[in-house]
Symmetry: C2
Subunit: 292 residues, 2 copies
Amino acid sequence: MFYIIGLGLCDEKDITVRGLEAIKGCSRVYLEAYTSILMVQKERLEAFYGKDLILADRDMVETESDEILRDADKKDVALLVVGDPFGATTHTDIILRARSLKIPVRVVHNASIMNAIGACGLQLYNFGQTVSLVFFSETWKPDSFYDRIKENADLGMHTLVLLDIKVKEQSEENLARGRKIYEPPRYMSITQAVSQLIEIEELREGGILTPDKTLAIAMSRVGGSEGQERIVSGTLSELLSQPPEVFGEPLHSLVIVGRRLHHLEVEYAETFAVNRESWRSTARDVYGCALD
Amino acid sequence: MFYIIGLGLCDEKDITVRGLEAIKGCSRVYLEAYTSILMVQKERLEAFYGKDLILADRDMVETESDEILRDADKKDVALLVVGDPFGATTHTDIILRARSLKIPVRVVHNASIMNAIGACGLQLYNFGQTVSLVFFSETWKPDSFYDRIKENADLGMHTLVLLDIKVKEQSEENLARGRKIYEPPRYMSITQAVSQLIEIEELREGGILTPDKTLAIAMSRVGGSEGQERIVSGTLSELLSQPPEVFGEPLHSLVIVGRRLHHLEVEYAETFAVNRESWRSTARDVYGCALD
């Protein structure tokens, strides 16, 4: 059996009992290290699971899937992934490969940012499509996310914005010289994300990401223990004005609030507001939300 | 501390290790029995958790939240919910109440249909808003879901359709006589759901739920063990023509496939097709998907 096991959001205890039992019976256990970041070290997972873990980076999962799947028709092999196996990055490729090799596959689901984002208090069924925001460079500022957010905004829906992560990047020099030396990982901050959104709004002028009128909710380490998880709500300009430490440690995600905003959603997220009064007044005056 | 703990999708082993540890330390543990169904009996959960569970129905969670929250500032109390605490039905009300009572709250996330639906092979980030489909009666056929699906379809997005559940229904007679006698639970079948969709399409003629041209994927008991989880893909009319047992036991969910369909998604879901050839030809000819 080939298991793909979601580890959930934060640390070693977010695995399900089903997932943990499966790991304990496996001959080989791979830990996928690229789709997201773990908030915990590999060694801590190994100690908790009682198993050595083989790190599988992007290259390996994509190009060496046969090695991962080796003997999985006779023995149990697991691939551990952060979040859910069908989260932001899916694992359909390796499952298709397993199927073609006639290897039985079992998926063990878990929470991912795609559902845990509900912790911000906005109703999940009012979210439209999810978008990804990549690091801008001087010469490359891909802005197709703007069209997606606008599609959602035009329908009044909320948008989950996933912020870029750069892991195993090579400097131009190292790349040119073929040296496999990697830069430290980079995680997009809320400040950078909001700046990029506003930069493209100024260019495109769709009126959907207006600094003083668009509400957003910043989240980090969703599902983490006290002091880890952070939720901060406010207008884009309020979020932009906060010092970075307000938003906590990466990973960060950002929700753009749509017009189909219910007063209970406003009330729930008010607890996290940079400024409760402007949160409420923007919801009432700009979003047309029925509040006292 | 007041814990709201997601139980995940299927049975007692889908709880996370974090959730299980929290339960073991609690003075009182409530099991919410209404938002969805459990695929497992209360007694089995109790045996596994080593705790008695207090059943909390809709009435209780909505109107007796203070009883649930009693002493949670001094002792640990948990409310267990199927899926994730912020799934299709959220628990923001009771969290707001806990906050107003100055009771600390900790949410333990888990998989829910809102992210596990990715198991059908369609990319989660291409889903639009989620809709609910309620049981039609002779006199009541609410069709606002149609507008929501159309909004998604116009943008090419997939739609997750959650099918109605009737739990603790009273017959008209029992209701009139004030007798608290409840009908057995009812779960909408895939056949009924597809019939209702087509019925409204015939009325509204938006061309988004065409029996021979619209692709859909039926799912039941997502994340369940072999023989439990079922995934069936096809045109609406193909799904309609299947005998009920093909779709397995409830709960069922249905995905309406949007035009932003990638060939890898087609390939992945082809395994589950009623008819592989028509699945591919519809994807190619109607959806314009680049396939061989």
